[in-house]
Symmetry: C2
Amino acid sequence: MKTTTIPTISTGALSASRKVYVPGRLHDILVPQREIAVSNEVPVVVYDSSGPYTDLEPQINIAKGLKPVRGRWQQQRGDVQEYPARAVTSADNGFAEGARLTPAFPVQRAPWKARDGKAVTQLAYARAGIVTPEMEYVAIRENEGRLAAYRRDGESFGAELPDLVTPEFVRDEIARGRAIIPANINHPELEPMIIGRNFLVKINANIGNSAVTSSMEEEVEKMVWAIRWGADTVMDLSTGRNIHNIRDWIIRNSPVPIGTVPLYQALEKVGGIAEDLSWEVYRDTLIEQAEQGVDYFTIHAGVRLHMIPLTIERVTGIVSRGGSIMAKWCLHHHRESFLYEHFDEICDIMRAYDISFSLGDGLRPGSIADANDRAQFAELETLGELTKIAWAKDCQVMIEGPGHVAMHKIKANMDKQLKHCDEAPFYTLGPLTTDIAPGYDHITSAIGAAMIGWFGTAMLCYVTPKEHLGLPDRNDVKTGVITYKLAAHAADLAKGHPGAQIRDDALSRARFEFRWEDQFNLGLDPDTARSMHDETLPKEAHKLAHFCSMCGPKFCSMRISHDIRAEAQKHQGMEAMAEKFREGGALYVPVEKVNEPAE
Amino acid sequence: MKTTTIPTISTGALSASRKVYVPGRLHDILVPQREIAVSNEVPVVVYDSSGPYTDLEPQINIAKGLKPVRGRWQQQRGDVQEYPARAVTSADNGFAEGARLTPAFPVQRAPWKARDGKAVTQLAYARAGIVTPEMEYVAIRENEGRLAAYRRDGESFGAELPDLVTPEFVRDEIARGRAIIPANINHPELEPMIIGRNFLVKINANIGNSAVTSSMEEEVEKMVWAIRWGADTVMDLSTGRNIHNIRDWIIRNSPVPIGTVPLYQALEKVGGIAEDLSWEVYRDTLIEQAEQGVDYFTIHAGVRLHMIPLTIERVTGIVSRGGSIMAKWCLHHHRESFLYEHFDEICDIMRAYDISFSLGDGLRPGSIADANDRAQFAELETLGELTKIAWAKDCQVMIEGPGHVAMHKIKANMDKQLKHCDEAPFYTLGPLTTDIAPGYDHITSAIGAAMIGWFGTAMLCYVTPKEHLGLPDRNDVKTGVITYKLAAHAADLAKGHPGAQIRDDALSRARFEFRWEDQFNLGLDPDTARSMHDETLPKEAHKLAHFCSMCGPKFCSMRISHDIRAEAQKHQGMEAMAEKFREGGALYVPVEKVNEPAE
């Protein structure tokens, strides 16, 4: 590899955290959760998508891949068979050769697929009344905090959030098409997770190789870095050379579902000429990626010929890559796309591997001006029709949405999606609520993401500060992930997810009691919080100080609140306490001591 | 001064911008606006709060202060008189002496106040049917973009946004108490601005001296830096030494309204002991700051004795500094606060200088757990009562609100405020929509701020990334201001402000047409956008490239959209265009050229 620095994989426990594994009751499973230690309180248990990389003593060798979590679950169901893999071609890696070719992943297994056209999807099992290990796994995973019997408080807009998520509840939600577990049978390393409006709001992070240089370590580390901070799924949007081999390295090391847009690779195979795309090349690419274990495919089958003229007067035309490629193909051939015409056959492939559909929003608005227009909603209606076809084939489906949408137009998106797609999970980019802040689009979109998550969107696709400007680097990815984690959590709180508020309350108690380390550790990004605090109060003793540099000790409202509370509790009737109060100590601390710990 | 580096004042035009001054019709006034040049399009005119610092050739000498904008407007009304100023005491500057004493501002004018108990407030004039120069000034200022007769589109939740803001509309809104122009008659340097639900959403930035070191240049620069990026008002929350003199330097150089919390200085005068505060010390501080020209005072008169027990069971008690200080005083003396008991007299002072009330929310929630509780709303109801008293005295009033509030509880805050305070402008901190992201609270709060701004809040108090952690530095202030500008703009868009979308549309057109420089210049922070772009594509030629490093030329949806549009426009019926399309050029560009400009 021609990289100048070989990155190491980020491993090790998160701040003050240890991994615990909760066993199943129905199945032989161990479900990871993260326990954050809190001084003088019970630990706070949080959802953990970071995989074994954050174990206390992680055993990571990316050339071997992760140990399979799902073991032989699929095989035990008796409806899959091993078969010889499709041969890897030079085109799969963008014709990279010699020193330019990323080495193949060292361990190659024969792929599995369904026997005799059987449906091996979680949807098929759910409909048959079977509670799979995957279903029990996500049921346990979703329950962090609920057992603490917390008060419920929220506006769910029709979502039906149970007090406790049971395996049977999971099965029922999947059977109704209202949730999916993206889990290709060829991705045994996966820690199953669920996407649906009655579960915790999830977030996706996009990664992709860079055109100039990329090694397998770099690409694996991008995925590991994104999940370390909380990404629930990762989309590999690589283009160009080596994408087959790099995808192998990523999937074999990924505990989260991997999504792709197969069209990108198909386009590479035909030399980048959209008109030369064909069903045969596309189908071959689906099989190729299915065998590798991709868990969900973005498929832009909703872009139909008659919709293209609806985009001509738009301010920003078609801004989805896949959408624009398919629109160009449709115009050139003057016919419906091969994705639309061969949708049935696509379903057959998806059901043979249990790959979930992420029905792409090829006509999403790229500017405030284009939001909620006829092109966008015409495609959404088509996605609703395709959902029913996929469901009839026992395929799991989610629907992609938004883009740029002002706040007053967000709810209409959610309402229409629920109506036309019968509550299939919605998966939205942002939406960005204004166009005027390039460099800050993680924030313009976090506003919209939090709102649409509250309204019912099941997964939020992150946006980084570099959106519209360039390739996100490591810091941008982290900023995007943390921003979307906080937006998703704000949505969970507003929906009234039982237990969602436990972490807020624990952090607020720590804040009120000046337990600085607890405050950092309970936050989404302990490292940043700690370093911001230490900029002005670096000494170790300040971690016990009953104030911070914002107000200093004299003006610290929380400190004064403690005095008030102590006094009020001593003198229940609040009578005759006037003179007592003076004994409680003056607020005054000499100015010179502002930067010294008070006690 | 003991500063190691003396900062210079940030001056000079903003990116691709020039300042234009629009004359009045009723009065001899010149209202600043900012014109952003756009290639091949008419310039985009935007609201400009940055003052003469961003003139093309700024003439700034902070030792002289800004030239008076309001000239002798107040004096011409014939109801004010000059009088000898209250003598500055050593206590006013926190007993700083010798080298520790910041020099007094070199030019001292005698203060003005109302003659014979007259009301010299904008509210009094509005009620008398007088359209003041201040009113015409803000009417012109609010109209940026409206003249372009843009489409209207939004959900205003009962706000009544006119097609064009007229001086008479401004007068009527002020007369109804639904808007205020914070404009102390002793602040002639002020460029008047308006705060109300039927006007553009405004933002406030807080600044304050640091306990360790501060020079007058540093403090003035903090204000100038905040308004350069868009702060509409600035609160000086300084404590400790030198606050009198530093405040003078700030106000004499400030084109935006300056707000303070007089209680902070009063507390310094009694050595930091809350119980020793008295009406006399407080009253003296109000006069002191009134004579200097402070435009609005935060006054926590709504914290009443019987409300304090309501805070005892809270997770985070009382988190407002002013609220906690007053609560401690009330408990100690076991009586209602001197702010509440002397509210009439406070009104008399405010009306004599036209200082606006910002009725403080001493009991705002400091955590998700405490939101919308009885303590918070009991105080809000009291603020409603005080509003009526102040209005009866012809005083201008706004109401402070939120803090930490989950999304589903935000609207109730706005609705209750509108009801109890009869549409007096709401001025809210955030609200922060979750507690779990220290280091990212500008974002947790931008979500809430955008929403409550949409619902009707007139001004948003910014939150920086350092909230809860430490003193914001220069970068934090800029991040906080830009974040709140985008939140306020998202609210303006959603409310349907005529013309608000002009800037979004211009930027999106630039984006679609690959006019990179226009895209940077039209954004809220051109410098950051440009530097992010240049990280991967630094060459000047890339500013003309029809792609960016996110997707590269081959996968650039906008580029493909142009091909589609060109073709579709050539062949209106979209017939027989199949072979033509091939001539349009392949999408393919050799991978090696990804980092080269395509044309």
